[in-house]
Amino acid sequence: MLTFTIRRLLFAIPTLLFIALVIFMLLELAPGDPMANVPLTVPAEVKEQMRQALGLGEPVHIRFWKWIVQFFWIEPLNVFDHMFGTTFAEGKLRIISWQNRAPVFITIAERIPQTLWVVGTSYVVAILIAIPVGIYSAYKQYSVFDQAGTFVTMIGFSVPPFFSGVLVIIIFAVQLRWFPSIYDTRLVVDSWDSFGMQVRQMFLPVMVLALQITSQLSRFMRASMLDNLNQDYVRTARAKGLREKTVVLVHVLRNSMIPVVTVIALGVPAIFGGAIITEQVFKVNGIGQLLITAIQANDLPMVQTLTFIFAVLIVLFNLIADVLYGILDPRIRYD
């Protein structure tokens, strides 16, 4: 398993470099001008000077190489400096956002907590709901509970968040006035009161996102349980005189969790990716919102960096999913 993991990590390096190149070339080919939002009164030659100042005058391969160096060397050095109070990265140019001329990673670090709070919580909530629901619907297949679950998950899966988001705002924020409709990033959680406020402002976006993820995951869990409930070993477990609870929650569940855990692991990068639409609807200034505004402003370093971080996470969690699969299923051996 260890050699497998190391080998996969080494293979990940060329993969990621290639992904970085593809993202860079795609952004290069995409139309758009970082100066598009500059007022028309600014003369063309000034705009050109501004472009030069952003480094756009350099050839493509130089800019790509600079970005690679900044991402893999200078930014980690900055992290190191920050942690240990050293000054290795002093005077070196970091990846700078074209929008606000601040280092990209500082902006990302500002946005990550909101995204993790909202999207991460919804993921956890969804897992906690979906797994029991999936188990029970499979165990009582075609029961009222199962039918109702199928109906709700069908709705949850097919209604887009820009609709369900606005709907819950109208119901819970406008009509009932239970929850705020806007997420306030400035809220500092330092007391029980502010924690309660944090929970309230998270409630609606978490609800919208969790509905979607739950729908998907509970269907998956149900299908996986159904696959296993009819297996011969379940009959053997019953013939041994085990309690129904043991049969279902130990023998069947352990087998059913194998594919589900993989799906859950593969879904984690999406948490960091944020939920672009839901974040927009509830004004959560998270990663998803950062990416969308960066795209609108032609802020290529920001877009490039964010997209590449997602790529790294996806490659990483693919590996984690594979390793988990190997741990959960004794029949899988990677050596």
Partner: protein, 336 residues
């Protein structure tokens, strides 16, 4: 061989099991009665779909319900009717007093738990042993079924065992709590012949050692001839003939049994141009039978067979047969 004990450890009377399906009911088991004594081996034969497995699974409630419904009958295990006991008591019986071995050893073990864990489960559940005692018992069981290096194999997973070895593990699980009755549902069907011989030997050996009653389901008449004390022949969810093993093979009375015995190809002499078959298909039973279910395939069929379903009638020496034809009641096979 049965000892002097005449007490029946398991007695089944008039068992009826019906499956509810979308296209109506299927009467899989129709008024089946049989019994076994301690130390005795009852063979149950019949072609696929004759209700052998369903009968045995009905005994200890292993059929999923719905669709299965055990409509009537009694299953007396030492006088206690298993169809009337509480679910808790039934769970104590399963694995504790009645052991079950299934047909396919490749899929009957849980792939994600170690063999040791799966053997220790019933031991801990029924015998109340602690972890250490259960482990000792598991090693003892694996040695009993002839798995070499038993102690070292407890932490192995089922996929690390061959088919024959897995079936031994299944036998070890079934025997874990010294059951009074062992039900073996085609335990050697999925195995090759040499492994089958080994498994048969183990079971014979264990029967002598442990003295439990065994019900052995198979469609292999050769196996039955080798190990059974008594044989019940099933057709269309009924027992059509039941006799001690020698009379059954020497003096089969039911036309179905006779036909079944003829289907065995001989390995000596001229090779037959065509294998013997029983023409036709067993019936699908949409309702409880009101006529002999074998009538459409029977060479001896006559009027009464279409009007009434024959009941099992004694023809002497513990031999009974469900057939109206006089030939079934009188002498040895005279007509084909």
């Amino acid at each position: 061989m049965p000892d002097g004990d005449t007490r029946n450890v398991l007695e089944v009377n008039n068992l009826r099991t019906v499956f509810g399906t979308r296209s109506g009911e299927v009467h899989a088991v129709n008024s089946v009665s049989f019994h076994v004594k301690p130390g005795e081996l009852l063979g149950v034969v019949g072609e696929s779909g004759s209700g052998k497995s369903v009968t045995m699974m009905s005994l200890i409630g292993l059929l999923p319900s719905p669709p299965a419904d055990v409509r009537e009958g009694e299953v007396l295990l030492d006088g206690e009717d298993l169809l009337k006991v509480t679910p808790d008591r039934l769970r104590d019986v399963r694995g504790g007093e009645v052991g079950f071995i299934f047909q396919d050893p490749m899929t009957s073990l849980n792939p994600v738990f170690t063999v040791g864990y799966q053997i220790m489960e019933p031991v801990r559940r029924h015998m109340g042993l602690n972890k250490k005692q259960a482990k000792a018992r598991a090693i003892e069981l694996l040695e009993l079924v002839g798995i070499p290096g038993a102690a070292g194999r407890l932490s192995d997973y089922p996929h690390q065992f061959s088919g024959g070895m897995r079936q031994r593990v299944m036998i070890a699980i079934a025997l874990a709590c010294d059951p009074k009755v062992l039900i073996a549902d085609e335990p050697t069907t999925a195995l090759d012949v040499t492994i089958q011989a080994q498994i048969l030997e183990i079971v014979e050996d264990l029967r002598a050692k442990l003295g439990m009653a065994i019900i052995w389901i198979t469609h292999d008449l050769g196996v039955i001839a080798g190990i059974a004390d008594r044989v019940a022949v099933m057709y269309a969810g009924q027992i059509v003939e039941h006799a001690p093993v020698f009379p059954l093979f020497n003096d089969p009375r039911h036309p179905y049994t006779r036909a079944l015995l003829k289907t065995i190809p001989t390995v000596s002499g001229e090779r037959a141009a065509k294998l013997q078959v029983i023409e036709g298909q067993p019936p699908m039973l949409g309702a409880a039978p009101t006529a002999c279910p074998f009538r459409d395939r029977c060479p001896l069929v006559f009027d009464r067979c279409h009007a009434e379903n024959p009941l099992r009638a004694d023809v002497g020496d513990g031999h009974d047969v469900a057939c109206f034809h006089p030939l079934a009641h009188t002498a040895k096979e005279a007509v084909a």
